[in-house]
């Protein structure tokens, strides 16, 4: 019990929780934007991988970090466009297309990595984003390092949440986006472009997802590894359901998840070899499934989620 308290009372734990939550924040926000418009984006795991690889490679080849972030977002947006064109105007199965985009993005990332660096045994590192010190605030005891000792990408994620929440709930564009995920026929009769809105949402959402991948290589691990995303994308899809498609809850969900993951990592250390490490490693996945089950019965799905809208067909 003391060990648990020690963990919870250490500032480094909370700093780690926010750090671990950051890629999930991007992922869950991206998934939320797509799903609010009625498109389930199962390309997320591949888009994470592609964002991680593209951002890292751009910096490795000499671009500065922020340009690398832009490259990652552009790659994510392009993959989102592929998924959107297949699922929105063509109305193909969002489940199978999403898996297809994930396989495509992952294999393309691995192929490009291997072609760009044919002869490396250990993954080359880049100079990553450094934590920013916010004058005054970073020196606060306890809260300082946890909340303000983060890299700029964490602040970008928080800013994107604010922008997304505002746009979704306070602007005509957001109303249109939400309506297109609930009742596309009504949106059509209001004179708005259903396909345009959905494609736009998927492209933007995918760009945001890719930033989550970019965080992994440009702030967390400083290098690109195969299979480094480790199912984070799928966890984000589960978190989106858990958050009832609301930005505020999604942010909270990502932070809770980050805290849980940081906790199990430390507990694993405290317990030592008494419990196999794999037991701890599988907890995030089991927790995601449990989260899905707890909200399943009362989940308030966007009514038109996964329902393609084809003109003249009802």
């Amino acid at each position: 019990m003391d060990a648990v308290l020690d963990i919870l009372l250490s500032a480094s734990f909370w700093a780690a929780a926010v750090r671990i939550a950051t890629p999930l924040m991007f992922g869950v926000l991206g998934a939320l934007i797509c799903e609010r418009a009625g498109v389930l984006n199962l390309g997320i795991e591949g888009i994470f991988t592609a964002g991680a690889m593209a951002g890292w490679l751009a910096v490795y080849l000499g671009l500065d970090l922020w340009s690398g972030v832009l490259v990652a977002a552009a790659v994510g947006a392009s993959l989102g466009l592929v998924l959107a064109l297949l699922t929105v105007p063509l109305g193909l199965s969002q489940h199978v297309t999403g898996i297809g985009v994930t396989l495509l993005a992952t294999s393309l990332s691995y192929f490009v990595y291997r072609v760009a660096l044919p002869n490396v045994s250990s993954p080359p590192r880049i100079q990553p984003f450094a934590p920013v010190a916010v004058p005054g605030l970073s020196d606060l005891p306890f809260i300082g390092p946890a909340l303000f000792g983060q890299t700029p990408l964490t602040f970008l994620a928080l800013a994107l949440f604010a922008v997304a929440a505002f746009v979704l709930h306070r602007t005509p564009l957001g109303l249109g986006l939400r309506a297109v995920g609930e009742n596309p026929a009504a949106v059509e009769s209001a004179g708005l472009d259903v396909h345009g809105l959905r494609i736009g949402a998927v492209v933007v959402g995918s760009a945001v997802m890719a930033l989550g991948g970019a965080f992994l290589t440009m702030a967390a691990f400083n290098a690109f590894f195969f299979e480094m995303t480790g199912g984070r994308g799928w966890i984000c899809i589960a978190l989106t359901v858990f958050a009832s498609w609301r930005p505020g809850k999604a942010l909270l969900g990502a932070l809770l998840f980050g805290a849980f993951d940081a906790f199990q990592l430390r507990l694993q250390h405290a317990v030592g070899g008494a419990v196999p490490s794999q037991v701890f490693l599988m907890l995030p996945y089991l927790l995601s499934i449990a989260a899905l089950c707890t909200v399943a019965r009362r989940a308030d799905y966007p009514k038109a989620l996964m329902v393609p809208y084809l003109k003249g067909q009802r």
């Binding site: 199978v96 898996i99 396989l103 393309l108 192929f111 072609v115 199912g231 799928w234 499934i289």
Partner: protein, 350 residues
């Protein structure tokens, strides 16, 4: 503006033609990254073809690689027919492999007539049991099975790693995380002399024929197809949804479990945590290329396996990463999906 006019009926020639055109498109698209990587495109594809089927050895290697893909492809094909999107064949394969090793490496003694069926049965049951969890969650709670099966893949792989460092670890393995070997009497026999091709391939062929008969000639098959076409209408017609879904989930998981048994008891002889090279995910592509038709799963699996085996050979000669195989396979999935539109609809650009 694109308009889709539903076709009343698609001819077999159109279905096959569209599928082949899709595959040709996938290869054509894969030529772009190949050329960008500086590889001679024509020669690379020729070397892939040679590597996949140019010699008896190459051909048996392709069929060996196709064996797990037939079973995982079939697992996806039967489940997708009922709109149960089982993306968990990877995990179910490992569950099956663990069960096969648990019963086949000395826990039970006996002759091949007892042990081989026992190993296969254990693996199928393990895979089926694993798939029942997401199936029940989907039908009872409406939890998306794609997400749960994907997440379970990670869990099962971790369980396998844990078992290989614990109860299933071979004490004679020199510290490597690998299981005790499967007894000789429990191994699926080789079917071509001095080659690695084994009885698992025949098992896969048999499974496809049985699944074909089941889907087209049985009450369960009719129910599976009805639930997949329109679950509401099927329920209205008195088809019991939960039992049908449980049956198709168990069938699908069981087939993927058999893939695991076939790999450990047919090819490797023991279990390691890198048993599957993405066979579960490649099975989804196989199922889609086969149009979810059990009999078409065999050529589709051989094609996908040929791409992987051929790319290995090509990569050694040309020096281009063999991830080109994964890329071709992913492109094939997307192209086949799009080609399905041309089969179901007359596409008019007005």
């Amino acid at each position: 503006m694109i308009r889709f006019e539903p076709r009343a009926r698609a001819s077999l020639a159109l279905i096959v033609g569209a599928r082949l055109a899709a595959l040709a498109t996938a290869f054509a698209l894969a030529a772009i990254p190949l050329a960008a990587a500086g590889a001679p495109v024509g020669r690379s594809f020729w070397l892939m073809l040679q590597g996949a089927g140019g010699t008896l050895f190459a051909l048996t290697e392709t069929l060996t690689r196709a064996t797990p893909l037939i079973l995982t492809g079939l697992a996806a094909a039967v489940a997708f027919r009922a709109r149960l999107f089982n993306i968990g064949a990877e995990g179910q394969l490992y569950a099956g492999a663990m069960a096969a090793v648990a019963v086949g490496s000395g826990a039970v003694s006996g002759g091949p007539l007892l042990l081989v069926p026992l190993v296969l049965l254990a693996a199928a049951l393990a895979g089926a049991a694993l798939m029942l969890v997401p199936t029940v969650l989907k039908v009872r709670l409406g939890v998306d099975e794609v997400v749960t099966t994907l997440l379970l893949n990670f869990v099962v792989l971790l369980v396998a790693q844990m078992m290989l460092e614990g109860p299933l670890k071979d004490p004679m393995g020199g510290g490597w995380p690998q299981s005790e070997p499967i007894l000789d009497q429990a191994m699926l026999p080789p079917i071509v002399e001095r080659m690695r091709l084994h009885g698992g391939f025949l098992l896969g062929l048999l499974a496809c024929v049985v699944a074909h008969v089941l889907m087209t000639r049985s009450v369960l098959g009719l129910r599976i197809r009805a639930v997949g076409e329109n679950a509401t209408a099927a329920a209205y017609a008195g088809i019991p949804i939960l039992p049908t879904m449980l049956a198709v989930g168990a069938l699908s998981g069981g087939l993927a479990g058999l893939a695991g048994a076939s790999e450990v008891a047919g090819l490797k002889g023991y279990l390691t945590a890198d048993l599957s090279r993405g066979f579960g995910y490649a099975g989804i592509v196989v199922a889609m290329v086969a149009g979810l038709q059990p009999l078409a799963v065999v050529p589709a699996a051989i094609l996908v396996a040929g791409v992987f085996v051929g790319a290995d050979t090509m990569s050694r000669t040309v020096g281009v990463s063999n991830y080109i195989a994964d890329l071709i396979v992913a492109l094939a999935l997307v192209c086949v999906l799009v080609s399905g539109l041309f089969v179901r609809f007359r596409v008019r650009i007005a």
